[in-house]
Symmetry: C2
């Protein structure tokens, strides 16, 4: 049953050609998996419209209520509740762009979401970071920079993000530091947090400096993205509401994502949690399309369940995968690009972390997801960014990227002649059909160890997590930041220094 090694070694003597660009501009060839019937999807959509029409959402931002009132939404200022007529929602749905082209500083890093296109984004938001040597600890700016480097280093990570909250930087200056790190250590599309107009103005200004563009050019196409998490159930806070408005007004990509844990902040049923999530996403999307019809916006979903014995949130569960399939159907129902997430509740980068992440990845990607947030590094329900998990996730993402590559089945590709050449009981290592293809035939893994037990044991019997540790060390040690004009770098640094002297910008709340 074992192949003959000598021939393979001979055949494989030359190193495989690099083929890193294979992991950019991913196209998902699979028909999305459906879990709900068309009638069930329509029922959930109409129940969501019912919620928006008769209950509405509490909008904490006076600016947001004012925009919605002007568009004709019934607003009750005492309760801060804003209701939406179905017609207003339908009108907004009709202007959602089906596809969004995100423009990066480096054109080779530009990417598309929607249609068959898929983007992988790193973990966002953890206050902590961990690795095998240093354990779990509060994240610093240097940790953030390391995570920008890792996100930049792997082609399969398509955009940058807020991989950790660097807590050694004040909240008034943090956006300056994280923007500077993204714009100088990376050339992929950056992420900016919505923490008030003043912070966003800084981030947008820095992006214009980095990309060498004026404000009008900036507004003409999306060059950054942000996430708006609603405060489920049925609430939208000030920075999130204002973020939707500012991103729409500036033509930048906003991803509206309710975080609906079935049984906790959402109904305990998958269909109920999805319906609430759908209502809230529709609300945010409607606000965006009121501000600017056609503004780039995505339908986000993050529906999971809790452990009903303890109340602990769970991720990557069977219910999570079901919800992902269902959310994909709801997104397609309104023809919106869809964002989903890779997630796990595991406290360690171990077997549980991997099977929960895999359940999330398959649920989302076979469900037709266009933007996969938290795709690398997420651990502990999103409270920690793990460097080993980051590498394990990159391995898994690369495997999906390979799975997305087209299969061929021409007569030449099938190789009936090769079968005749080899004959019964023979082997294909040296067949002409093999020799023409062996360099680039298969995925070459980042972490997986396929050596036999003896060789592996003699080399320290390292687990995949231990090998992932070696990979991130190597990646950081060999990291080279992308080219950036010295004048631009100076201008960015000067901007940050000036704004620091001015006290930065306190976050809105």
């Amino acid at each position: 049953m074992r192949p003959r090694r000598r021939e393979a070694q001979r055949a494989g003597a030359a190193a495989p050609e690099p083929r890193s660009t294979r992991y950019r501009n991913l196209v998902n060839p699979f028909e999305p998996v459906r879990i709900f019937s068309d009638d069930q999807v329509a029922s959930m959509h109409h129940a969501a419209l019912d919620i928006l029409e008769h209950q509405g959402m509490r909008v904490l931002s006076a600016r947001g209520r004012s925009v919605l009132r002007s568009a004709g939404a019934p607003v009750d200022d005492s309760s801060q509740m804003v209701r939406l007529e179905p017609g207003m929602v339908s009108k907004a749905i009709s202007t959602i762009p089906a596809e969004v082209a995100l423009i990066a500083r480096n054109p080779a890093r530009s990417c598309r979401v929607g249609g068959r296109h898929v983007v992988f984004a790193p973990v966002a938001g953890p206050p902590s970071v961990s690795d095998l040597e240093r354990g779990k600890r509060t994240a610093t700016l240097e940790d953030y920079r390391d995570l920008v480097r890792l996100s930049q280093a792997f082609d399969v990570i398509h955009v940058l993000g807020q991989m950790v909250e660097p807590q050694d930087t004040s909240v008034s200056e943090r956006h300056l530091e994280t923007s500077l790190a993204q714009l100088t250590l990376g050339d992929k599309v950056p992420h900016f947090y919505c923490r008030g107009e003043a912070q966003l103005a800084d981030c947008f200004a820095m992006l214009c400096i980095a990309n060498g563009i004026d404000e009008a050019t900036f507004r003409s196409a999306p060059r950054c993205y942000s996430i708006c998490n609603t405060n489920s159930p049925l609430q939208l806070d000030v920075p999130m509401t204002d973020g939707i408005i500012d991103f729409a007004a500036n033509g930048q990509l906003m991803i509206v994502t309710p975080f609906t844990l079935a049984g906790a902040m959402a109904p305990i049923t998958i269909s109920g949690a999805l319906t609430l999530s759908h209502a809230e996403a529709l609300f945010g999307i409607t606000l965006s399309q009121i501000v600017q019809p056609g503004a780039p916006v995505m339908y986000g979903s993050f529906t999971s369940n809790v452990d009903m014995k303890s109340g602990s949130p769970a991720f990557g569960t069977p219910e999570y995968a079901k919800a992902a399939f269902g959310a994909g159907q709801l997104a397609r129902y309104i023809r919106a690009p869809w964002r989903c997430s890779s997630a796990t509740a595991s406290n360690a980068p171990d077997a549980q972390a991997v099977y929960e992440s895999q359940m999330s990845l398959w649920g989302a990607l076979l469900g037709g997801c266009h933007f996969m947030l938290h795709a690398a590094g997420w651990l502990e329900g999103g409270l920690t960014a793990s460097l080993e998990k980051f590498i394990l996730d990159v391995e898994m993402l690369q495997m999906f990227a390979e799975l997305f590559q087209p299969v061929l089945a021409s007569a030449e590709e099938i190789g009936v002649e090769a079968v005749a050449e080899v004959g019964p009981g023979g082997h294909f290592f040296a067949a002409a059909h093999t020799m023409q293809r062996y360099r680039d035939a298969f995925y070459s893994p980042l972490v997986s160890d396929w050596r036999n037990y003896g060789t592996w044991a003699a080399d320290g019997a390292k687990t995949a997590t231990e090998r992932a540790n070696e990979r991130w060390h190597e990646t950081l040690a060999s990291f080279q930041p992308p080219a950036l004009d010295a004048g631009v770098r100076e201008a960015l640094t000067a901007f940050v220094e000036r704004r620091r002297r001015e006290g930065g910008a306190p976050p809105a709340s």
Copy 2:
């Protein structure tokens, strides 16, 4: 973002109802994923027919060649090559049963393969076994018995198998010992190896004793299964050929599975490796249907790739998942129930073992697989059965079983009233909609730890693999064999003792 625990604890005070039967009689609700176009599938099928017509297979069994010659196949006795006309293959395809009902000693353990039905079978064949305490070691009969106990203990494992090769038992008596263990420690459908007519006669006789049936009743429906691995490329050895004949003649389930490693024993392309596998499977299936039209038979596939740098086999790769999707399409093309596998090349029950197994599981199960061999315990390319991996796999299988449960979306299920009851910013822990459903709403995991980091760390910071170790110890410690009439047990033991005295039965080769 965190749910309020107190309410959840109150709500969840009573233990959830047991619902183990949910994992029996699995029905896969998903439309199979397609990776090849219909034209590509037809091309591969016709290329396989071409191989069978013009090259044929080398059949080492004179008995097999004789059966095929009698049915009209051109046979060259000097080269042992047997060719099949397309018409003969088409005729065989037309009599393959679309579904097979496997009858267990305990009717509650009977199961179906084909259609939407799915069966999970444990790992088969490793010479070694491993666990965290004792490491990797040669498998013994007691290890085999432990693996029967584990396979019996979990509802999500639907049939028994040859989980390890117990090497402290001679090859002439091993089939007696493994059959005895399956028939006395379990009441699920057993697996018998094809190692010659004499061994099979023993196994069949023991099954009749255990089930209290005569030979005619035994032959009337499938009550055991076996695997025939072709010796790719294009070769079929004596015990495998004769096993196909004996299983078909006795109306028992034979699974014909070529083991085609792309680049080694098969063409380097996925379509080429699948085509060779398809040709070989069609050959075995044709033999089975010649012996008895309508005999229960499955289309097996086990196509993976090798590392072209070292020749090492790889499993659970992107290519593996592609091949699984493609094999499912080929199986449906000939309307045969389809067997696939869960596999990994990892040497440890670690993150790699899990992501490779997940790639296999999703590839097979979303590909529409009906019988998943090696679904629990497989490690190290099938050379070791790992007890921890067995438990991790059971967890993953249970997650799939849960994913297969239907979703509901009635107005009551969605719960718009519950959303109104809770209101903006509230929580659903105590909502009536939640209270009616919380006991049975979500999957309750076997290994996953959803506690917060502090609690988990204070409890020893155990990884999922370490917790899996505790689970198999607990499962074995509390194992109770299923009820078995004392007279039957005595008769089985007497049979084994008599056959031992007679020298057992040497395996055919």
